[in-house]
């Protein structure tokens, strides 16, 4: 059983969640990122996700370790899907279990924030009138030219 995975097939929420459930954990949170149809009024038709797979799995694993340094009893599992995803489909499932619930929320949110910072996965939005690689990990800026105007990674 791999707790940190990049996959091409649809993700089963239950299967990812089961990886972190255990008798010492009273609280489990999951985050499920899905393909949204409208972003700021613009209609997405579908997305393509691409990953540097080996490094992405390594970085997901690093995020799990960072969480365990902060919340020592946490268990973490993350699966991210790549390839073509239709509207409403699941791109990522993050499951975190902890003995008490507050930590389960905090650790889970920490995971998604870190994914958007350090895990080499990119999405290409496809609209009716074009397509673009989304170049900013905070999902706020796209770079039609492929030239990010600011260094957000070091910012």
């Amino acid at each position: 059983m791999k707790n940190y995975e990049i996959v091409s097939d649809p993700i089963c929420i239950e299967a990812v969640t089961k990886k972190v459930m255990c008798p010492t954990a009273g609280a489990v949170t999951t985050f499920i990122g899905t393909v949204r149809e409208f972003t700021k009024g613009k209609q997405t038709l579908y997305l393509i996700y691409e990953a540097y797979q080996e490094m992405a799995e390594k970085k997901l694993c690093q995020i799990g370790k960072e969480i365990q340094e902060k919340w020592s009893e946490a268990k973490v599992a993350i699966t991210h899907r790549i390839g073509r995803l239709e509207i409403g489909e699941i791109a990522v499932v993050i499951a975190v279990s902890t003995p008490h619930r507050k930590d389960a929320y905090l650790a889970n949110e920490y995971a998604i924030e870190r994914i958007k910072e350090i895990v080499p996965i990119w999405k290409k939005e496809h609209w009716k009138d074009g397509q673009i690689w989304i170049g900013d990990q905070r999902e706020q800026v796209a770079y039609p030219t492929g030239k990010p105007e600011e260094d957000l990674l070091h910012g």
Binding site: A51, M55, H80, K116, V119, K123, G135, D151
Partner: protein
């Protein structure tokens, strides 16, 4: 020889996904400069570099067999 991996819009800019190149002994910064001369459409200023699956600084010296990946701002999740 060093293997270079291209992703997302960088792969479209250079028109390929992988490239083998003789740059052992060079720094990452020097490699970037050479690639930008070779591919005028390539912009690497705001792109991170990973060597053997770990992020590295621009002054790192490359070795034979290294796998270099250029990592534009990520957008997973």
């Amino acid at each position: 020889m060093v293997k270079i991996l291209w992703f997302a819009h960088l792969s479209e800019a250079v028109g390929k996904r992988e490239l083998e190149i003789e740059v052992a002994g060079m720094t990452v910064a020097a490699l970037k400069k050479q690639l930008q001369e070779q591919y005028p459409d390539l912009v690497l200023e705001h792109v991170l570099t990973a060597v053997n699956e770990e992020y590295v600084a621009d002054d790192m010296v490359l070795d034979n067999g290294d796998v270099v990946a250029f990592i534009p701002p990520v957008s997973g999740g």
